[in-house]
């Protein structure tokens, strides 16, 4: 087993992990952070998206051991207590989800986009989220929710 010291949503954690264990499995099974989902398990679908040192990654393609000394952020860290993030509210308002498996990954990826680019075009949102597959919505509602959240966040600042 490998000893891993890492920070998840601002909290320091010490973990003992198998060398083959993915960051996704460590988050879900050891820290009970079950927001990130395993879809494909090979980096194609984005359902397991988390931030690793500020960048969206597929946590199924990161070993838990690689999180040593790194900062991890998951969907559980997006809301401020009971107050949903604007992206989360807009996803509900626009009905931008059905089964919800892809939603945590999309929220994490979309938040990373808006932090880099507060005013993305529709095309920029579509390309940024091209690695987050959704089998229910057909994407339009997701894109509209992200653009609407961006607009609200710009007005608030």
């Amino acid at each position: 087993m490998i000893h891993v010291s890492t920070t998840v949503n601002g909290d320091a954690h010490e973990l003992l992990c198998d060398p083959r264990e993915t960051l996704l499995d460590a988050l879900r099974d050891r820290l009970e952070l079950t927001g990130a989902k395993e879809g494909c398990g090979t980096g194609d679908c984005g359902a397991c998206t988390v931030l690793l040192d500020e960048r969206p990654v597929c946590s199924c393609l990161v070993l838990a051991a690689e999180a040593e000394g790194q900062e991890v952020r998951t969907v559980e860290g997006i809301a401020d207590g009971e107050d949903l993030h604007p992206l989360q509210r807009k996803f509900i308002e626009h009905a931008a989800l059905q089964c919800g498996i892809c939603t945590p990954g999309i929220l994490v990826a979309a938040k990373a986009l808006l932090e880099r680019n507060p005013d993305p075009s529709e095309t920029e949102v579509r390309y940024w989220l091209a690695g987050n597959l959704c089998r229910c919505t057909g994407y339009d509602k997701i894109i509209r929710a992200v653009l609407d959240a961006a607009s609200e966040m710009r007005e608030a600042t």
Binding site: I2, P19, R20, T22, G41, T42, G43, G46, T49, L52, R55, P56, V57, C58, C60, L61, V62, L63, A65, E66, E68, A109, A112, L113, Y127, W128, L129, A130, G131, N132
Partner: protein
């Protein structure tokens, strides 16, 4: 599986050289961990090179050459304005790979050492005249990028050898490069054909040019005749026709679900022409 985090490439090389089972080096993991997860390759020793000093550095030397560390990601490359100004083709080629999430992890060196004939960044690196710095049991050596891949999934690297960085030559005055690929959609797909062109101009005349093609042979190929077809020209129609002809002649593709031999051969000529035009315009800008 043993997971190693050496603090130098010499140590990384020594671990690999002493290993008796399956060994893999880990940088971004976008190939190695997919293979591990799919039970295609289960390493006995996995050597994570990201704890080695300098692996995330993008350095420009005083002579204008560049050194890009083995763990620099596509996202990091795409944010480096000075590198984009000199080698936009290399950056746009790596940037084409995968999604936002893959971009946060994928690397030039990983794309090279994975040995795919369809690797997007490899034709751009070869066109640029890039070299790979290799650390091994016998010491260090630097070899042209085109000498690394030897077949699908295979490289010329020996036991214990590890690529520590990619080096780009000085761009010089009036140089430009470009990479184009054909895929049947707009994003997130494997190249049916890829074409990289790098050239230098003196006024309107091309004085040096290199052309490399991907996904049309068992390895990415440097097409010296295609580069030679451009030298001395002003990229007129005759030179473009000669370029396309040389590119098509160099194709040894397979037919598969992505494209037929005939289609790939024709597209190689088309993409070489288009990439040459972009590189020419960039060189004059």
């Amino acid at each position: 599986m043993r997971y190693h985090t050496p603090s130098s490439f010499e140590d990384a090389s020594a671990i690999a050289a002493a290993a008796t089972g399956v060994t893999r080096f880990l940088a971004g993991g976008t190939d190695v961990l997919v293979q591990l997860r799919s039970d295609l390759v289960t390493p006995d020793d996995l050597i994570d090179i990201k704890h080695i000093a300098g692996v995330k550095d993008i350095a420009r030397h005083s002579d204008g050459s560049w050194r890009i560390g083995a763990a620099v990601s596509g996202a990091e490359l795409a944010e480096h304005e000075a590198l984009i100004a000199e080698w936009p083709g290399v950056v746009e080629a790596l940037e084409l790979i995968g999604s936002t999430q893959i971009q946060a992890r994928c690397t030039l060196v990983g794309n090279l050492c994975n040995g795919s004939p369809a690797a997007d960044s490899v034709p751009a690196m070869i066109a640029a005249g890039a070299t790979a710095s290799v650390v091994g049991p016998e010491g260090t050596r630097e070899l042209p990028v085109e000498d690394v891949p030897t077949g699908p999934g295979m490289t010329s690297l020996g036991p214990g050898e590890v690529v520590s960085a990619v080096n780009l030559p000085p761009r010089g005055e009036c140089g430009g490069d470009a990479y184009l690929r054909f895929i049947p959609r707009t994003e997130m797909d494997i190249a049916v054909v890829g074409a990289g062109v790098s050239l230098s101009r003196e006024g309107d005349t091309i004085i040096a040019a290199r052309v490399a093609l991907g996904a049309v042979a068992p390895t990415v190929v440097l097409v010296e005749e295609a580069g030679a077809a451009l030298v001395g020209s002003t990229l007129d129609d005759t030179a473009l026709a000669a370029l396309a002809g040389a590119a098509e002649a160099a194709c040894r593709p397979i037919s598969d679900k992505r494209g037929t031999v005939e289609f790939r051969t024709q597209v190689a000529g088309v993409l070489a022409r288009r990439a040459a035009k972009i590189a020419y315009d960039r060189a004059g800008a």
